[in-house]
């Protein structure tokens, strides 16, 4: 049994905490740290966590903790525009949202090819407050990789219909597409207005199972049962590409991935 402490109990932290406490075999959530007293209450009452700390240092001093799960604070695709408040610290739409897609591109293109250059543009469709920090609510980027592969990224905070994460990989003998249409379930209705299906509401719904599998892989890696499928270097590389894209959005020029 692996004893895990969680750093941060915000929206994402609570998600991971529930995964660890309730859905992950071989792991036990034993401690948490957060500066918010309400979040302490949540962890105590919902998940039965008793070792609650105000600081990361205090959590690290707890001898029962063997591993830490943490995620940088992070603004969400939010129809109410609450993300605008977080925008100044989010790193911008590409580092906040597209960083996942950048990681996916390196993985899908095979062998994590080296990124060479990036170009980005964007627009503010609905949230003028973003202009103050040089961010946009709809962004487009093209990244060139060594060997000829190219990736096109589109990130939006303003999709009217819900959360749609879709991917298309185009190869010489065919193409593969995933998630087009953001189907929430398998109901289709037809009436005088057309043919309809419901869509996924948010990333929590879209990636519920992925979060579960991610935590299981983390625990397996801590226990030495399997190598971690994703290294810190992968995250660093995605950030490096995201930084070049963000620089291009601001300069309006093609930027080298430094």
């Amino acid at each position: 049994m692996l004893n895990v402490g969680i750093v941060g109990l915000g929206r994402m932290g609570q998600r991971h905490a529930e995964q660890l406490a309730l859905h992950t075999h071989g792991a036990r959530l034993v401690a948490a740290c957060s500066v918010d007293a309400g979040e302490h209450t949540w962890a105590r009452e919902r998940l039965g966590v008793t070792a609650l700390y105000d600081s990361y240092d205090a959590l690290l001093r707890d001898p029962q903790v063997q591993a830490n799960a943490s995620k940088p604070s992070y603004a969400m695709n939010d129809p109410d525009g609450l993300f605008v408040r977080f925008a100044p610290t989010s790193g911008g739409i590409f580092l906040d949202c597209s960083v996942h897609d950048i990681d996916l591109a390196r993985w899908m293109l095979g062998g994590n090819p080296k990124a060479l250059r990036a170009f980005a543009t964007g627009t503010i469709a609905l949230h003028p407050g973003l202009a103050d920090c040089g961010d946009v609510d709809n962004g487009l980027a093209i990244v060139e990789f060594e060997g000829g592969a190219r990736a096109l990224f589109y990130a939006s905070r303003t999709l009217a219909h819900g959360h749609e994460t879709s991917t298309e990989v185009i190869g010489t003998e065919g193409s593969v597409s995933v998630g087009v249409g953001a189907h929430r379930d398998r109901v289709q209705s037809r009436d005088a207005a057309g043919v309809h299906h419901r869509v996924l509401a948010d990333f929590v719904e879209r990636f519920a199972e992925a979060f579960q599998r991610e935590m299981a892989a983390f625990v397996a890696a801590c226990q030495g049962e399997a190598p971690p499928p994703l290294m810190l270097a992968d995250a660093t590389e995605a950030t490096r590409i995201g930084v070049a894209i963000t620089k291009s959005l601001q300069s309006g020029q093609v930027e080298a991935v430094a």
Binding site: L22, V178, R186, Q188, R190
Partner: protein, 336 residues
């Protein structure tokens, strides 16, 4: 915190126990199974203890039991759990005999405990969404229901021998879908089956004929209001577990499709390919099994009626009996 015991550590018992253990505010305390090794393995995996029905029912800290043991043990366990004032979640069917199922319903009512029957299909996100839209009147008044229910492969003939036959073992779920979709009161006073016709064949495995059962069937039901339902089932579908229905209403149509393991679509020189349906019920209804237990514990908390009561179990059983008789009589129309 609600303390729970699970009876049965077989295929479905493992699913229910895992779901109970993963619910906030609920604690899985005991697992019981005559096969000691199965009980021990499951209990160890989920941090519970091994026990016996006698000890569980005598334990005052236990609030509810989940009955996931073989069908022929259900009615005895329901009676004993009700007498011990434990709330009950019971896998379908209540009992293969309608009179015994009716007695169970009476015992539960007399004891004043809550009892929910595991018709998990009503909790499948796709089916539940279709029913919700129907109830909101989005396609008007329901008129016709077509249910397709096909297993990927037939179980061994030996299993079928004790199953009660295809109508009680397999179509019991489809009869519940019929009642839920065409007979629920959606502001129209509800409806009920009036006549039923069933027929069937052995097309998959001749061994199934030897135990007196069939592997392919069709059922037609007409309701008191004249609504029509067709159910077609097979014990074999080469392409996986096929679970669909469509309901035609006065203003439109609702179609429920199969779930697939992934949503990858591949386009190449010869085909456009997507995954075949989820392999079988444990995969297709994984979320439904979880959501039905969420509903059970929410119901215990709120005191609101369950979506699938023991009365629903009895009514589906009556339709299964009528279908069995109709088929055995060579396709006689039964009046309900």
């Amino acid at each position: 915190m609600k303390n729970v015991a699970v009876f049965g550590a077989g295929r479905i018992g493992r699913i229910h126990a895992g779901n109970v253990a993963a619910l906030p505010g609920v604690s899985l305390k005991y697992v019981c199974d005559p096969v000691a090794a199965s009980a021990a393995e499951l209990a160890a995996q989920l941090g519970a203890a091994v026990s016996t029905p006698e000890a569980v029912l005598a334990d005052a800290s236990i609030d509810a039991v989940v009955i996931a043991s073989p069908t022929d043990t259900h009615s005895d366990l329901i009676h004993r759990a009700a007498a011990a004032k434990k709330h009950i979640f019971c896998e379908k069917p209540v009992d293969l005999s309608v009179p015994r199922a009716v007695e169970c319903a009476a015992a539960v009512q007399a004891a004043g405990v809550a009892c929910m029957i595991g018709f998990q299909r009503r909790f499948d996100p796709t089916f539940a969404e279709a029913q919700a839209r129907l109830a909101r009147g989005e396609i008007g008044v329901p008129e016709m229901l077509v249910v397709t229910s096909r297993d990927p492969g037939a179980p061994p003939a030996q299993y079928l021998k004790g199953s009660g036959g295809i109508f009680r073992d397999m179509l019991i779920h489809d009869f519940d879908i019929f009642r839920w979709i065409l007979c629920s009161d959606i502001g129209d006073g509800g409806d009920a089956a009036d006549t039923l016709y069933a027929n069937g064949s052995v097309l998959v495995d001749p061994e199934i004929a030897k135990v007196g059962d069939i592997d392919s069937s069709v059922v037609t039901i007409r309701t008191k209001k004249g609504r029509l339902c067709q159910i077609n089932t097979s014990r074999r579908a080469a392409y996986g577990y096929d679970q669909r229905f469509e309901v035609l209403g006065s203003k439109g149509l609702l179609q429920c499709g199969n779930h697939r393991p992934t949503e990858v679509v591949q386009f190449d020189g010869s085909h456009v390919k997507s995954d075949k349906p989820e392999h079988f019920f444990l995969q297709r209804y994984r979320e439904a099994y979880r959501l039905e237990l969420v509903h059970f514990f929410e119901g215990l908390q709120s005191g609101k009626p369950f979506r699938t009561t023991i009365a629903d179990g009895v009514e589906a059983q009556k339709l299964a009996d009528a279908a069995t008789q109709s088929w055995q009589a060579g396709g006689t129309v039964m009046r309900l």
